[in-house]
Symmetry: C2
């Protein structure tokens, strides 16, 4: 069994970006992501810390715009508009879900498409679906693609089963895998023959948010298993896959923690650097 760890992927991605970041520095540009956080949710704070750590290590920057949990829609919209027009900001990440009194819909139209580094806007989803590559794909499914690419796992023609159809992972990932010529099956809570669909896959990708639901009976010895789930098992993190019992069987598997989740903030960095380059090129032209 090969363990598909996320850290080597992160290092390779950062190595590739190094030169771009240095070139930008010559022009006095530091790739900068703005995080818009409403309130103080523990999940948000944890992801924010991870993002700042990753960006800082790569000589990039994160500016946090923290709004009070009871802020108004127009306060939030103004914050996003300010970031849109700020030429020192290259990417915008708005933490979701927002508190219930706030609406995502108007923000989806508001956020500058060229700074939308995590596919928040409708325009981003349209580009993803059409395949015109004018927008940045959402970070978690892109992290899966980065991992597959790094470990030379060619999905072309292969049967890839995606468990979960969320708008942030399963659905966009299925379109991205299809664009890489995989034969994609999307399974979900209503799927009748879930075990059969999993067992017949060459590559199984779990993103359902259900701790250790993929047990030994779902897999086979030639299978590659990618675990996107992040769940709590008591006070310990675990994935959607029962790693202990599945890993001895399959050909390769990502651990949780230490797998896909490790890569997402580096994707965010990659998109922010790409956006900084785009903005700089536009200035020169």
């Amino acid at each position: 069994m090969q363990e598909l760890r996320g850290m080597p992927v992160v290092h390779a991605m950062c190595e590739k970006m190094k030169e771009d970041i240095e070139k930008l520095a010559i022009h006095g540009i530091v790739p900068t992501l703005a995080i818009v956080r409403v309130g103080e949710r523990a999940d948000d704070l944890s992801y924010e810390r991870g993002t700042i750590k990753r960006f800082t290590a790569a000589h990039a920057q994160v500016n946090v715009v923290n709004l009070p949990a009871d802020c108004t829609q127009s306060m939030l919209e103004e914050a996003v508009m300010d970031l849109n027009s700020d030429s020192n900001i290259h990417g915008i990440l708005i933490f979701r879900p927002l508190p219930k009194h706030l609406s995502e819909d108007s923000l989806k139209k508001l956020i500058a498409p060229e700074k939308d580094v995590d596919c928040f806007s409708n325009a981003g989803y349209a580009s993803l679906f059409i395949g015109d590559k004018s927008a940045y794909p959402p970070c978690t499914p892109q992290a899966v693609i980065e991992l597959l690419d790094f470990y030379n796992i060619d999905v072309c023609g292969k049967k890839v089963t995606v468990l979960g159809r969320s708008l942030v992972v399963g659905k966009p990932l299925s379109i991205m895998l299809l664009a890489k010529n995989a034969t994609v099956t999307v399974c979900h809570s209503k799927t009748q023959n879930l075990m059969g669909e999993c067992k017949s896959a060459d590559i199984l990708i779990a993103s359902v948010g259900s701790a250790k639901m993929i047990t030994a009976e779902y897999v086979h010895e030639n299978q590659i298993v990618i675990d996107v789930g992040i769940n709590m098992d008591g006070d310990k993190l675990c994935g959607d896959v029962d790693y202990e019992n599945v890993s001895p069987i399959v050909k390769a598997i990502t651990p949780v923690p230490g797998g896909i989740g490790t890569i997402t903030t580096t994707v965010l960095l990659k998109h922010t650097v790409a956006s900084a380059i785009m903005m700089q090129n536009r200035k020169i032209l």
Copy 2:
């Protein structure tokens, strides 16, 4: 074997729309579709005739805006803008592909989303992908959904294999089936085990544009086969399915001609009527 003909679906859809069309008539409104046709392609002319026939029979109207094959981009854009602002036009259908010197991209942003009855715009694809139901889905995949609904074929939890991943049929259809809780597999030219994927499906939907490629070996006796292909076999129309040899085996199958292709213009009518009602309601409010 049950033959799933399109005509009964059309009649049921028209019967349902009758009351709406009569109500609109009281307000002096005739649901009107504008077709934008550049040049005189035989395919376009044939589809145009079919559309006019269907609309006329239902007391709805089609206005054809025919531009010369050598028209400029700005002539085409002006035509679309005129239709956008014309309150007597409820739906706009732009025939594709356009001649090579013209670009679809600017039109995708230009067409009024509320009159985009065949999902031409990026906004339409975004709505489809997100599932927010604010836009009209493309007519051919919607014709498949109408047929499934009419014949009470519940896809929930079922294994549905879609052959083909085009932007006008396969890809949107897979998202629409997923929204109806099907377990969807998308196959294409790169799929390694095509026969296996077809044979293991409860419902097989072919939309590859390859005459009679689905032969008896691809199907089984409990299968429902939907044939979206329209190809020429000598001087005769045929589908992607080898009807003669497949139909005796399977549980149910759509014929070509007389199947899905029969329904698409009625979907166009349904969307145009819905748009006319929306525009009328907006006027009253």
